[in-house]
Amino acid sequence: MNPKTAIAGAAVIVVAVVLLIVLSSGGSDDKSSTTDAGQVPTIVVNKNAESVGGIAELTYHKGDQIHFKVKSAIADEVHLHGYDIPKEVKAGGTVTFDLPATIEGVFEAEMEDQKQQILELTVEP
């Protein structure tokens, strides 16, 4: 293959890839709907230490204030990993997490004793 053909071929494929990405990213879903301003999301945990409605998903940007509540039917420790914040909750009680989003990544909160994940927390740059 001569260099001209190569460059032409590369250019065609680059255009194709860019188009592909632009087209495919248009339909991506945004799951940051749970962080509406003014409303503090509350994760309700049942007697089996499960989050009602499945594992909750919260998305923030770095520098935001992470703010959510956990209302638990059982006594346990709610542990937000990565940020490493444990909070004891009584049976029927509610605990509040309110902290700045300083670390980027995907993190789990779990009912520590029951080893049950209740939240997937995403902090984007």
Binding site: I13, V17, S25, E104, G105
Partner: protein
Amino acid sequence: VSLLDSLPFAHALVARQDLPIPAWLFAWGASIVLIVSFFALSAAWRKPRFESEHWRPGGAGVSRVLLAIPMQVLCGLVGVFLLGVAIYAGLRGTEAPDRNFALTFLYVTCWLGFPLFSALLGNVFRPLNPWRAVGRAAGAGFRAIAGQRSAHLDYPEWLGRWPAAIGLLAVVWLEVVYGGSGGVAVGLSPEPVAVAALLYSAYTLAMMALFGVEEWCERGEIFSVYFGMFSQLGSFGVKDGRIGRRRPLSAATRWATIPGSAAVVIASIATTSFDGGQDGAFKGAIESVMGWVEDLGPSALDAARITDTIFMLGCFAGVAIVYLLGVRGMRTVKGAPSFDKLRTGFAHTLIPIALAYLIAHYFSLFVFQEQAQFTYLLSDPLGNGTTDLFGTASAGIDFTVVSSNAIWYVQVGALVVGHVLGLTLAHDRALAYWPDYRDASRSQYWMLAVMVAFTCFGLYLLSAGNG
């Protein structure tokens, strides 16, 4: 509530997971890969450059010190001691995977650290290999008592590196299937890992007694073969009792001549792909299959493990098929050697891809867990608060040391560099196999397709994240 949610859950080893790479970076990565590939085809060299090593021995003094018998004994003792600590911690320490020395040491520090440092510094595992050290000591003891060398069975040539390839699958299976099935970390507890390490030690020493220490390390011992494979990429090596330097990548050209070598490198790419995809790209498919498996009767946990095993083996088959299709394609080019010769002859071109996959998938895990390794896991190896050997038992991991942007650039950079090195090795080998350089270039359309497939698949796995 899906099946996954009903499985018992224990948090995984690391508390911060990577964000998926953004679409724009995916596009850049893929574009760079394609541009580089086209230039590689058009502007490439016409004579093989890596088939001979260009060996340059280093200073005799350095070799004398580093390769001296007391130094070998010392390194062996360090290896045996650390394996002992890991097994003891696994058996007697806390069940919490992130607080026990055993898991981080074996699966992060060693399993991920040795490939990287082997590629940079040469075969650093060889002197530290605890089983080799024990085997050699036993051999020396036998010679001293019996007055002759111990006799060994002939190692079957056809078996080659297959025991290592299967063992590699088993090591990763223990970590990510037995310990982390179904996209939810069931939590590999330290105890089964310690038990596995004990069983593996017994098996390895038995095989060394049967076939000889060096023979088994070259072909059957999982960790020697696997880490040794990556050491072929780098510049440093030992030859005739001297440490020296060779042309980078050149040692790799001879690595795959032993049967089963291709299976080792394919197993590496496949297991990393599976681990990268099980929470992301393959998650939906895994959930569907898990539903069908559970309908057949096994418990949710067993169904998850069976399904993950199927997917891991599926990854192995998939990677093997892509590679073999490339080989099959090269066969169609005028003047091609036999299928078997091509299959063996191009296997080493996948080693840089395997290393790139490891770096792309585990870079952040390594950075985070090594902080634990050298602080609280070192001071309190059992993880139950009984010791504070270096005063660092209460330290934590600083998850802010690398930003998501930095992780993304490392991931994409590793894949692109791995791709270029793989292409380089493949082009060079083609020049050695085809007398006419134009036929050699033509044969490389096929390997190019293979490399582009692996690199873009790697990018796709990273972009699909753990959603």
